[in-house]
Symmetry: D2
Subunit: 267 residues, 4 copies
Amino acid sequence: MRRPGLGISTDVGHANAQRIELRRYDLVDELIGHTSYTETLLLAVTGRRPSGAQVRAVDAVLVSLVDHGMQPSALAARLTYSAAPDALQGALAAGVLGAGSSLLGSMEQAGKMLADIGARVRAGTGPRVAADYAVARILDDGRRVPGFGHGLHRTGDPRAIRLLQVATELGVAAEETGWLAAVGAAIEERAGRRLVVNATGASAAILLGVGVPWHLHRGVAIVSRTAGLLAHINEELDQPIAPQVRSALREASWLDEERGPAGGHDA
Amino acid sequence: MRRPGLGISTDVGHANAQRIELRRYDLVDELIGHTSYTETLLLAVTGRRPSGAQVRAVDAVLVSLVDHGMQPSALAARLTYSAAPDALQGALAAGVLGAGSSLLGSMEQAGKMLADIGARVRAGTGPRVAADYAVARILDDGRRVPGFGHGLHRTGDPRAIRLLQVATELGVAAEETGWLAAVGAAIEERAGRRLVVNATGASAAILLGVGVPWHLHRGVAIVSRTAGLLAHINEELDQPIAPQVRSALREASWLDEERGPAGGHDA
Amino acid sequence: MRRPGLGISTDVGHANAQRIELRRYDLVDELIGHTSYTETLLLAVTGRRPSGAQVRAVDAVLVSLVDHGMQPSALAARLTYSAAPDALQGALAAGVLGAGSSLLGSMEQAGKMLADIGARVRAGTGPRVAADYAVARILDDGRRVPGFGHGLHRTGDPRAIRLLQVATELGVAAEETGWLAAVGAAIEERAGRRLVVNATGASAAILLGVGVPWHLHRGVAIVSRTAGLLAHINEELDQPIAPQVRSALREASWLDEERGPAGGHDA
Amino acid sequence: MRRPGLGISTDVGHANAQRIELRRYDLVDELIGHTSYTETLLLAVTGRRPSGAQVRAVDAVLVSLVDHGMQPSALAARLTYSAAPDALQGALAAGVLGAGSSLLGSMEQAGKMLADIGARVRAGTGPRVAADYAVARILDDGRRVPGFGHGLHRTGDPRAIRLLQVATELGVAAEETGWLAAVGAAIEERAGRRLVVNATGASAAILLGVGVPWHLHRGVAIVSRTAGLLAHINEELDQPIAPQVRSALREASWLDEERGPAGGHDA
């Protein structure tokens, strides 16, 4: 491959006047009309074409993350769209920037924990020993174990239960969901109480199982969430909430009483 | 629905401690494991569950837009990731902000043109007359007809040909692709030369045909492109290009010769 | 200047191991400790070192734009900071993206109108005739004249009055504020009622008068507003509003009653 | 203050139909025309009106950070502006998102280190002992001491020297610059070599000395940098670099040879 100019190259996609390739597959002949978006996303990110079962498992993860109601990031996207409707990309970007939240960010933490366990397992440690070690290190640091526990669903996060069921049925991420169970057992032994797997933990196990590295888990969640943000942006056009929000905000900085000046210059 | 506090509500998604709904479908029982991401995206955005054929047609559109090689927006995402790897959301947002480009923005213009034709057709005008009117207005304004013409592929954009073929096979967007053909005929009659439909035009026709309003077309393209941006961000970790780019940029602002001061204060 | 690699160059800033230049001024010897931020901003953007009076006039504009209370963009910044406190740049960016608002965007429109009048005046047309032409064209298009009128302050926007007073005292933007007055007279004659100059119009006249092209006026407003966003981000740390906002949003998508499934698959 | 609706309030700014306040100062009567932008920024962020010397010291910091030539963040802003010139806010936001870089982020680290030393000093520890403790902890963690060392300027970063000189002349941040010197002595004793203070360290000391908390230092740097980004955006309009960059990027993903398909579906 010639590399004039910047001396850089990419393995993601290539094109010339005759042909467009994504990861060396012909976009027109091999992908458009043959592969779903989810399959193509996995191909683009991992460089490998996933199995049908892997695609369906990742579809389950993406579907579980599309929307969580009127979240702060949805509000940020709607307010930004209302202020600058000609620049829809800005509204989506504003929503995306809210994705360091406990939910989306903690998937990354759960993925990292499972990847660490996986590295030990592949070096010969048993899964349960590796899980004990990981949990001990996290709890000793005073942190919460990512992927476990839920404020509302104390007897089981229904999304997590469903995601693990789907993965099992499809035979996807068997090892990784096993490590997740080992982490649960390690928590129970050490902390003396049972914490349920949450949707974040189940999603991280599936993504890791299909070859998405943990440092991209937050990114996959964001890809999914852009659909929900777009739904909110569309709704803002038809049933705007920006006027009520603006009105409530005006109250927040309303100047009530007459006051004198705050004081003279002190220098 | 009670509306305390802000007095706002949404029809996109709802939740309580027992149940999570997207567009009134139960997320756990009816969507996760049952619907693909693309189907769920359409459900979220349009509020209606699409047919299987509609899903496959939109998959084709999304797949065609995932990546276009090392575009400026991919570079912006990679450089931002390199500068702030802990905030992957910022890198994706920087890439998303580049999506006002001729490609992604012109899909919106093509969608608007087709929607205008559709409004006239539904009011009783024949498709060809409506297309003639739309083309005349655009050309009289000195603008280019969106969705037509291509710098490289003068005898036919292979992605557009494939997308229209997929739509025809699936029986999706028959009306809208017909209007696109009518626009092509109108251009040929008026300008005296044949312009090929491009991928943008074909995508807009399909999206409009499945019920995505034109003002969201750019947004759908961005949803798709986030997968390509994520692939580039991943590659930046393994095969970074930021160092070479930084080095080339340093040359661009390198101070070569010894010079005296630019001059004294002029006021 | 040698241009290897990308073959690009810049006139904004240069550096080598010994010396850093901004617009060919030595950063260390001629700028740091000698020039204010506002003076340096004008130097960077226009390439010319401004007079002291110009700096003070632009300071007045920037000060008038720092904060407008709890605006939607301040809320977006605060919510984003709350979700991702490690990435303060993301919170500022989310706030910046709300700057297509009527206020900040309309400064650009006012600047463009004054620049158009200026071009005619320099071509020999009298200011009042040029203003009449500009106003007629805007009103004929059914648009509002930018820089004029105010929802609350019908007898005069106090910021605009003050900004014009400052400009007059400093002898800055005399021509441009004159064109603004001509526009006011043209509106009164044509529309039969007196509209007050607003802060946007006064700011645009001053910026144009000191050499900032109209297409950057929105950008100058954003530079100023980042200080207000930073103040809100700081306050969010000490007196967070995100919890109340999240709580109000949860109400907005709360699932109240038990309902059956939304319906079966329609395809 | 009444708190209907959201039940939130702010101390940054207030307004009603007659009066606009920033930190309880009357915007029109006390600020516009009286205070510089830098003074107003400090008032907005800290809630206190700074002394004239403090304003001049912060001006020096802001001026030193306006531009560093054709940095990756300047390139991201220019490419984004080129792709979406109607949404200048998006171009500025894309540039802002690159501000997690070693330079801007390390100011935050330097500020935190000095704040930690300050807390110990106020609790009765001597400055040098506090500095020894801070340096030991950083070096034991295998990290670099923030605010010290420079790739090019091994005998002294000229910006740092100038900033410290300005602070000394103005009598600003005497304590904080003293702690910085103590850190330098601690490094020399422990590591056996002298490291120079860099611009980041000097800036952090000054900002901390005028009352800007360390977690906002990155934000202050971004406020300053927006001026440089705006200068680059302006230059992009007149002397665009986007075409050359796009051309170099096209090379990076150019498809050279004819190849067969990458392979069949593997699952």
